[in-house]
């Protein structure tokens, strides 16, 4: 107890001028209350810099204009507002930094506030192990716009990531994006009007469940991309999610990989391994409910496997969808009466010059759930070589990855 008092005392000396400092009942550590008012931005950034390890920084209700990005590099800090839509950090007019809030320390909790209209990404946490995003909203107001920031919630190069009860709207890339990380849970969250609702990229051991992704361009994406420091993404479970009406036109700036996702995509699995998709409800994704495909671009990276492997799709509910397929799938669909099946595989089994392999795609759905292999064989697409087939490839579902357990929940 003495140590905590000392910490609080030290913080008091530094911050006493701008904030209230006291011990919190039921909270065993130092606390800083950032006061509302003209100096809010400076007081908040000061608190984020000078807080001791384990400090709880409280933000009052209200809307606060910020023109520069915030950053936190102190371990164990909880940054907590008065609630989503109650405490609003408004970055319209942001002049500096690549994101609204950058976290680079471990064991941080971000909770109960809204971040709005950042110039770049919303909240980025990099190399920040054990982070919790809980009941946080990140949004870009107005219509979906290519000038919106890329990612809403953006943990990267981190271990033990929890995204729980988060809402993201309007991201021009992915609403909730977890990249180059491992041990990940994304749950109870809402992603809407983003290009990608939820994206797990170059990551391993991820559970994505009890989320709603609607009105995005694509609902949930699991990708692995070349030429990145962390590759070989694998072992993701996508279950108990509602994935519907992801029909927003793609508004991603060209060049970014999600710009290639056709509007109307439910779930897309690209070049990843051991992904299980089950017990989800798919509805009215106009291009395709679930698509499994290889990486589509040329690449120069010997360590990269561009094929999806060991992908299992089972026990999902499907309604509507595929009635107005967009992009390349729309072109294909012309040969099939203009509609696309619920589940599509590009049928790529090899990369140029290499031997064909069995990628083990297992589909265990009711017989009336449509499937189509485009029979592309290998990229780039050569029309004359296409061998489309309605027959499921007959892969065997392996054991699903074990549930992800996070130390911050034990």
């Amino acid at each position: 107890m003495k140590k905590i008092v000392l910490l609080a005392g030290a913080a008091l000396l530094v911050l006493g001028a701008c904030s209230n400092e006291e011990m919190v009942a039921g909270f065993d550590g130092p606390k800083i209350e950032v006061a509302a008012g003209e100096n809010f931005a400076v007081d908040l950034q000061t608190a984020l810099i000078e807080a001791g390890v384990g400090t709880r920084i409280e933000l009052p209700a209200g809307t606060y204009k910020l023109v520069d990005g915030l950053s936190l590099d102190v371990a164990g800090v909880t940054l907590i507002g008065a609630g989503e839509g109650e405490t609003i950090l408004d970055f319209a007019g942001q002049q500096g930094a690549g994101e609204g809030l950058l976290v680079t320390s471990n064991d941080v909790v971000l909770q109960d506030f809204t971040i709005r209209d950042t110039a770049g990404d919303g909240i980025k946490s990099k190399g920040a192990d054990g982070i919790i995003y809980r009941n946080v909203t990140v949004e870009w107001t107005g219509e979906p716009d290519a000038d919106n920031g890329a990612y809403g919630v953006y943990p990267v190069e981190s271990t033990n990531v929890l995204v729980d009860g988060v809402t993201v709207r309007g991201a021009s890339d992915a609403g909730i994006y977890v990249g180059q990380s491992k041990n990940i849970i994304v749950r109870n969250s809402l992603a809407e009007y983003n290009v990608a609702g939820i994206e797990i990229e170059n990551s391993s051991f991820a559970d994505v469940y009890d989320n709603t992704t609607k009105n995005n361009t694509g609902g949930i994406l699991v990708f692995d991309l070349p030429n990145l420091p962390v590759m070989g993404g694998h072992s993701t479970r996508i279950y108990n999610n509602d994935v519907y009406d992801n029909n927003t036109p793609n508004f991603a700036p060209p060049g970014n990989i999600v710009a290639s996702v056709p509007s109307g995509t439910g779930v897309m699995i690209m070049a990843n391994e051991n992904v299980h998709i089950f017990n989800n409800k798919f509805a009215n994704n106009r291009t395709v409910q679930v698509i499994v495909n290889a990486y589509i671009n040329e690449f120069d990276d010997e360590t990269y496997n561009p094929l999806p492997r060991n992908i299992s799709i089972y026990d999902n509910e499907y309604s509507g969808g595929g009635e107005d397929p967009q992009g390349l799938l729309g072109e294909f669909a012309k040969a099939f009466g203009g509609r696309m099946t619920a589940i599509v595989w590009d049928g790529v089994t090899k990369w140029s010059g290499e031997e064909s392999v069995d990628i083990n795609l297992a589909i265990n759905e009711a017989d009336n759930i449509g499937f189509l292999s485009l029979g592309v064989g290998s990229y780039p697409v050569v029309e004359a070589n296409l061998k489309p087939s309605p027959f499921r490839p007959g892969g065997k579902a392996g054991t699903a990855p074990s549930p992800v357990k996070l130390p911050q929940e034990q």
Binding site: V42, Q95, A119, V156, N227, P229, P253, P254
Partner: protein
């Protein structure tokens, strides 16, 4: 109690009597927390106008400086007496505990005559204490008699004429303490950026350091980066030297931008890693609608010069440390991309 009072009194008197002789205060330098005033470290003369270095500070110059809104910079290093730094072929010089790296940022009303009416904006310190390097920003007062610790940085309006005669009126951003870390980060540590042997190895500088007793020895072998704006050097090495000092502190395996996979260190050999036909990773609208970081032969289609030229948050690179584009740097990188053979 009385003993300390006497000591303090003696100290105060000696300071007041003879400010020029107060030397570096290692207790302040090695403290966990930054001092409130820049002069508290004993590295500059107190109560004088401007930055009056004591004899414990040695000025040094980099072959290539990092661009900061056309600010004039002065660099100094303090190494505690009896201790020595060590230099390896290519790395950051390994400085002993107690070292302070000092960097002043200032302007003159007309940067074509940088000494006339020059004023200091900020001084950044990198202090090597027992726990590692610390990065602290100090902002100079109007009277130029002291710089005060500014953990949250500061925004300042600057009006000046640039070295090429352009009128500039812009908001200069003194970085906050975390932003200092963002650029100086390697893994979870903070390290200096400029003083790598390869960037110090000119004008007999490393030998001077040895002569002054600051450096144990000149490294056996040192690679030398060319001055990025020396037209007699090869364009390729000039461009790589420029990216090395302006970008690679974040764009490297252990840097803040590691996850981009775009690594711009002088020693990087993979053409994809330095951006040639590399797709953007997490660029969003920062990609500017372009497909590649570097589209060989086509700077106008390349993300790299596009982001260097932009001053807009969310697009501009570097993200921190500049409000203006470095037009000469953009030209250099554009020329370099132009001469790459198209595929």
């Amino acid at each position: 109690m009385r003993f300390w009072a006497v000591i303090c009194a003696l100290f105060l008197i000696s300071c007041a009597d003879n400010p020029a002789t107060s030397g570096p205060d290692l207790a302040v330098i090695l403290a966990d927390k930054p001092a409130k005033n820049l002069s508290d470290y004993g590295l500059i003369k107190k109560a004088e106008v401007g930055f009056q270095a004591t004899s414990s500070l040695h000025a040094y110059e980099l072959i290539n400086p990092l661009f900061t809104d056309y600010a004039a910079k002065q660099r100094y290093v303090f190494v505690p007496e009896g201790k020595k730094a060590e230099a390896q072929k290519d790395d950051i010089v390994s400085f002993p505990v107690g070292t302070v790296l000092v960097k002043n940022f200032g302007y003159a009303p007309d940067m074509r005559m940088p000494d006339e009416g020059a004023f200091l904006v900020e001084t950044r310190l990198l202090i090597h204490n027992e726990a590692g390097w610390k990065a602290y920003p100090y902002v100079w007062n109007k009277a130029q008699t002291e710089a005060i610790y500014a953990p949250v940085g500061k925004k300042l309006n600057i009006k000046t004429t640039s070295p090429d005669g352009t009128s500039l009126d812009f908001t200069y951003a003194v970085p906050n303490a975390n932003q200092c870390k963002t650029c100086h980060q390697t893994g979870h540590d903070i390290i200096p950026i400029g003083p790598k042997a390869r960037n110090l190895n000119h004008q007999g500088q490393l030998q001077n350091w040895v002569n002054w007793g600051m450096l144990a020895a000149r490294p056996q072998e040192v690679s030398v980066v060319p001055n990025a704006f020396d037209l007699t050097a090869k364009l390729d090495t000039r461009a790589r030297a420029y990216l090395d000092i302006n970008c690679a502190h974040c764009h490297k395996a252990e840097g803040s931008a590691s996850n981009s996979g775009l690594w711009l260190d002088w020693n990087e050999t993979s053409s994809v890693r330095i951006g040639v036909q590399k797709h953007p990773t997490a660029a969003g609208r920062g990609a500017g609608g372009f497909i590649y970081v570097i589209d060989p032969g086509k700077p106008e289609n390349s993300i790299l010069p596009f982001r260097m030229l932009s001053n807009e948050a969310g697009i501009a690179m570097p993200e921190l440390g500049r409000s203006l584009a470095h037009l000469e740097g953009v030209d250099l990188i554009s020329d370099w991309i132009s001469q790459m053979p198209e595929n």
